[in-house]
């Protein structure tokens, strides 16, 4: 039963301890009011009436898989196979084995204390027609103070930029909230344009030109306004994401139109060669690209940059 007088600071502390003891690198708490501008049907209160807080937890992508993915993308002919390490150790494993488990355990902790909580899947289940999840983990991460949006639309943290993954738990517990990020601006668009020869770096390095050059997304979270580039999620997720784009480790004979809609993506998927399908049949999750995240200058590990110096072209 709900304990009305539960010390929320103590419960928040236990939630954070649980996250860190389960290898999470980040945890932040956002009151649900910060999600007032989220799309209808995707706000915390739509999914859980009486929701009070959203807990966002995150995990850094380690340096090794960052190197292998960049090596694979920079040398697709000879080193395509080294990207396997990133797809699992930089994506699927973090989501399925660490973050979803932590969310599951946090859900149980909060329920034992009398609060109903809904754990959101870290990635992999979405409305495939809209390319939209039930709830946005990256917006929740920003709302919970873990970072701010980069131009690539990913939550960038002060220490590793966008090289982190996130999961959320919506709960009726009114946990002790964290302030939103208020440190120095992380995504310096003007400086980034210099790196990117006129375009922000994430836009310049996207091999599929998924980021709009003029359309901007604007969101207001907790009274704070953010802007990031509009992105063609269908092209990104349904071609490069599933490994069928010839420019991003996909089969060289696949022909991908410049723009695609859902129906085209289904037809393309049906044409996926057996060897590509079989490659991911066991572990399922993973994204074949990630360059907008890996090459973002915010928090880029010097080790990776040193290693990759001179080995890759800016836009592949």
């Amino acid at each position: 039963m709900r304990r009305q007088n539960k010390d929320m600071k103590e419960l928040t502390k236990r939630a954070k301890e649980l996250a860190f003891s389960n290898l999470m690198d980040y945890i932040g708490i956002a009151p649900v009011e910060r999600f007032v501008n989220a799309p209808e049907g995707h706000r915390p209160g739509d999914l859980l009436p009486g929701a009070e807080s959203v807990v966002s937890m995150g995990m850094r992508v380690s340096i090794g898989p960052q190197v292998t993915q960049r090596m694979a993308l920079a040398n697709q002919k000879k080193l395509r196979h080294v990207s396997f390490s990133y797809r699992w150790f930089g994506y699927g494993l973090l989501n399925m084995y660490f973050m979803d488990r932590a969310a599951f355990l946090l859900n149980r902790l909060l329920e034992k204390e009398g609060y109903v909580s809904i754990p959101i899947v870290s990635s992999g289940v979405e409305d495939t027609r809209l390319v939209m999840a039930a709830f946005s983990n990256r917006h929740a991460a920003v709302a919970a103070g873990l970072g701010e949006f980069g131009w690539n639309g990913i939550c960038s943290t002060p220490d590793v930029g966008p090289r982190a993954r996130f999961v959320s738990v919506i709960t009726t517990a009114k946990l002790d909230p964290d302030p939103m990020y208020s440190g120095p601006k992380l995504c310096d668009l003007e400086k980034c344009r210099q790196f990117g020869q006129g375009e922000p770096f994430c836009v310049a390095v996207c091999p599929l030109d998924c980021f709009s050059h003029d359309k901007v997304e604007e969101v207001v979270i907790g009274g704070k306004r953010f802007e990031y580039a509009w992105m063609d999620h269908m092209m990104c997720g349904k071609t490069a994401g599933i490994g069928i784009h010839p420019l991003v480790l996909g089969p060289k004979d696949m022909v991908i139109p410049k723009t695609i809609d859902f129906d085209t993506s289904v037809k393309l998927r049906a044409k996926t060669p057996a060897k590509t399908v079989l490659e991911t049949v066991v572990y399922g999750r993973g994204h074949f690209c990630g360059l907008c995240m890996l090459r973002c200058p915010i928090g880029v590990p010097k080790l990776v940059e040193d290693y990759m110096r001179g080995k890759e072209l800016m836009a592949l």
């Binding site: 329920e111 754990p119 979405e126 409305d127 495939t128 027609r129 999750r285």
Partner: protein
């Protein structure tokens, strides 16, 4: 600590809610090929492990079934109510217990929590449900699900068959049956709730007797293929994106063909997590140990809802 105490400790430290032990002979009435001795010739004991579904994922399932505009709420249930507890908690703990028993000189065979399905017989390799009942973790309900006292059918189970002779944990049968069929028929307007809410009419009307140890349970016969039609979301009532006409007689071929007919957006939906059950209505709407908190949340969601999807039962009210 005794071996059984160590196993119980291992289970609880891995977030499991239930652990029980049954003599292997209690399941010797199972169909040939699915008895403990078929898996391990000198099987002595069945260890049953279980984990409850959290209230949040129960609510997510019921919300998705009750509000067309919030179908996406099912995603939390698909993974956090099915795949994750099965793969990450039950299966993982099972392998830890198998390793522990092997170190003690015993052989142990783990069954899969969400078992592979034998297409020929429509049976799972080994019945985790009957093993849980044999181990005293609950009763067998009308819909052939384990009913525990505190969560009703809202739990998942796995089993380990071992040649270690462990002290059986047979608890005395409850004084009153958890599945009160007559009362349930009143709630379900003549049919037990599990049968009345099943979108594919997979539960009954024919009945069967199931013998587990010395106990005999009367349950509905379950048409596993009709159940699969719902769990794969092949009708809108079971959260499919498209109503695919279900033939009167459903078998593997019909399910396979039905899956090919799915809206492509739905077939791609499960591509990544691979597991999940779109339906689960017989579990969620069973009145045994139904959570009042989930029911209250549903009433709130229904009040604010714009677009009702299917009939919703809250403690028998419709």
């Amino acid at each position: 600590m005794t071996i059984t105490e160590e196993i119980k400790e291992l289970a609880s430290s891995n977030s499991l809610d239930y652990v029980g032990f049954a003599p292997a002979e209690s399941l010797e009435n199972e169909p040939e090929g699915s008895r403990p001795s078929d898996f391990l010739p000198d099987a002595q004991t069945i260890i049953s492990l279980g984990i409850k579904l959290s209230l949040g994922v129960q609510f997510a399932n019921r919300l998705a079934h009750s509000r067309r505009d919030l179908r996406h709420a099912i995603y939390s249930y698909l993974w956090h109510g099915f795949g994750l507890p099965s793969l990450h908690y039950l299966d993982r703990t099972a392998i830890l217990i198998v390793r522990f028993l092997e170190k003690r000189g015993h052989v142990a065979v783990p069954a899969m929590a969400a078992s592979s399905f034998d297409i020929r017989s429509s049976l799972t390799e080994f019945s985790n449900i009957r093993a849980a009942v044999a181990a005293g973790l609950g009763d067998l309900g009308w819909g052939e699900l384990v009913l525990t006292q505190d969560a009703g059918p809202r739990a998942r189970f796995t089993s380990i068959i071992t040649n270690a002779r462990l002290e059986a944990d047979m608890k005395p049968p409850l004084k009153s049956k958890l599945c009160d069929l007559e009362k349930c028929k009143e709630l379900g307007k003549g049919l037990p709730i599990c049968a009345s809410v099943c979108p594919t009419h997979a539960i009954g009307p024919s009945e069967q007797e199931v013998r587990i140890g010395d106990r005999i349970f009367k349950t509905a016969k379950i048409d596993r293929w009709r159940c699969m039609w719902g769990s794969m979301g092949l009708s809108k009532d079971s959260l499919g994106l498209k109503d695919i006409p279900m033939p009167d007689t459903v078998g593997p071929e019909e399910v396979f063909n039905g899956m090919k007919e799915r809206d492509p957006a739905q077939s791609l939906e499960l591509m990544v997590i691979s597991r999940g059950d779109y339906c689960g209505k017989c579990i969620m709407e069973c009145p045994v140990a139904s959570s009042s908190e989930v029911n209250q949340l549903l009433l709130k969601a229904k009040k604010t809802g714009r677009n009702e999807w299917t009939r919703m039962t809250v403690h028998g009210r419709k």
